[in-house]
Amino acid sequence: DAMVIQNPRYQVTQFGKPVTLSCSQTLNHNVMYWYQQKSSQAPKLLFHYYDKDFNNEADTPDNFQSRRPNTSFCFLDIRSPGLGDAAMYLCATSNRLAGDYEQYFGPGTRLTVT
């Protein structure tokens, strides 16, 4: 089935130790998003790629970076994780070229910072 895949599902990292979360999609959608969702809060958009164009939200900390080497893959890099970065990270895609603005979500990666 075409889908959005996130690896790993659970990630534990140490305070200050860089970590990378990955997302892949078989939907061939041109837009990919990264959201942060903390407990009992709404998903918060960190950034998104429209094709190769990177769009950063104004309040996304510099500690968060992203890479999209090709259509299928997108990575979230946290350069120096702090305790406050512990959250669920959601990847999503949409097919704006087809005029469809529905977002398709992956299962998420739960990040724990020790």
Partner: protein, 110 residues
């Protein structure tokens, strides 16, 4: 600025009772409204969107521009409806990020 408000964090209803999950929004442009649902241990997924005017799993939602609301309704709740529901807003042109409300957890009691 775009804003979505879901006033209830938790809503508990008995099986067979009507359900209404409230959503109000603030947006100066032409909005597109969505309801997303997250069942236990499953991914966030689209339930319905106002443009399609569909009924999905018995749920409907009507966009009321005068009241800036997009409440989700179902006449008879089922146990399998228990989930987290998020209202979300974008522009109809799709050129603004999706903004989510904080979500309402629906619990349907047998």
């Amino acid at each position: 600025a775009q804003r979505v408000t879901q006033p209830e964090k938790l809503l508990s209803v008995f099986k067979g009772a009507p359900v209404e999950l409230k959503c109000n929004y603030s947006y100066s442009g032409s909005p597109e409204l969505f309801w997303y649902v997250q069942y236990s241990r499953q991914r966030l997924q689209l339930l319905l969107r106002h443009i399609s005017r569909e009924s999905i799993k018995g749920f409907t939602a009507d966009l009321n521009k005068g009241e800036t609301s997009f409440h989700l309704k179902k006449p008879f709740a089922q146990e399998e409806d228990s989930a987290m529901y998020y209202c979300a807003l974008s522009s109809i042109w799709g050129n603004t990020p999706l903004v989510f409300g904080k979500g309402t957890r629906l619990s349907v009691i047998a």
